[in-house]
Homo-oligomer: 134 residues x 4
């Protein structure tokens, strides 16, 4: 299991006229948590793209339990529960202090720059083997 977290501060630009963070921004917050997870895993997303891989989102789901607003410090936890094969499923939980505010997931596949599905890069596979066992 790989579990990491970041803290972000809600931007004014991210609020809407309801006075809360617009729900579409959570996709970006998930992305930030995922990018940080890859840092912690030891294969930064930027390097993986340079190596010729893309990791687009195939599916996303979010449940909003409580709104957050401007200036709130939101913790975004990313969780990789199972060793990924061709697809990667990452789960997310958002907190404000001790309070749950949202949870969700994203599902990804590896593509080459032409958009064709490919096997994950060796560096990624080896790291996952080291973490989850072969």
């Amino acid at each position: 299991m790989l579990q990491t977290k970041i803290e972000l501060r809600v931007r004014y630009a991210e609020t809407d006229m309801m006075g809360i963070a617009y729900h579409g921004n959570y996709a970006t917050w998930f992305e930030m948590a995922r990018v940080h997870m890859m840092d912690e895993f030891g294969y930064p997303y930027r390097e993986m793209e340079r190596d010729g891989y893309r990791l687009p989102v195939l599916e996303i789901g979010v449940r909003f339990r409580r709104s957050v607003s401007f200036d709130d410090r939101v913790t975004v936890e990313a969780l990789l529960r199972n060793k990924p094969a061709l697809r990667i499923r990452i789960e997310y939980r958002l907190y404000l202090g001790e309070t749950d505010v949202a949870d969700g997931f994203t599902l990804h596949a590896f593509l080459n720059p032409d958009g064709r599905p490919v096997r994950p890069p060796a560096r990624f596979v080896e790291g996952m083997d080291a973490m989850f066992g072969k």
Copy 2:
């Protein structure tokens, strides 16, 4: 059943360095389709907010089947399949010409301006009764 559609043109601002529309923008496209659905239903979202109601998103899900890119004309269909009670579930389908590109849903509840759950406004209920039967 209430079924409406809009066409949008993908903005350059909506693309990312993968060369495709960033997945987080689909939430906004769903919003545009939903706002148009409320127009067609005869109770524009803006008026409903003026009447003191909010309709925040409780849950969202999107499946991305095929990417779209800058300048693409995307059709976004919104579908209200069942008569809503306290919660409203809307489904969406995105097309590029005849090609399916994505589908998803949002779930909403009615709140008052203080953020408390309330019954839907009478104007909304009456319109739904007229459409789906009492």
Copy 3:
């Protein structure tokens, strides 16, 4: 002189907790007006990119005179006053009905895909010559 206009409808996602459209979105609205101007000029931006040219923004300026909000129909006028040489300066005016709401400009240069400044494509130059005289 080349003068074109579009109408857009302010999205909920574009509002902020002040209850108005967030100022950063005007850059995107300028982009939409500019893309439409290129359509009217006869050399769509998408085709220019396919031909190997990029037209990044070197400078932007906006004056906000009056706020706009969700659901407002905003007219965005783009104006090319002078025949461009190596740089292109486009001016913008935003209206709500007859009321001025903002104005601004962007300055652009032609780059090749490697990011180096280049002369404008022949198709662009010929079109400009036809419009403004040689």
Copy 4:
């Protein structure tokens, strides 16, 4: 003079198909630097809004010297050069390490929640007097 800085990491969502950060996002980065400046000044923006003041942008200008891209760590410096009277002008400089990447400014006025121009709050004026002299 009040001079503060933040560091931000460019999000994937902030890039466009040119492979660089979309220029419209700089307005949001300025906002983040401005919010941090108010923290350092001792009157957080959130508190000022709670006290019944709004500080909308009247004017913005940005010059883009060099692009930045995904994962870049960008320093955003905010500078208040002169003691503000009814209007506040803040300048910004963006760096990537030692390299200048952009500069700009925003101009603001104080409004009450109804959108009418008002004098700055006493707490703001006193802080500015303490900093710049009466």
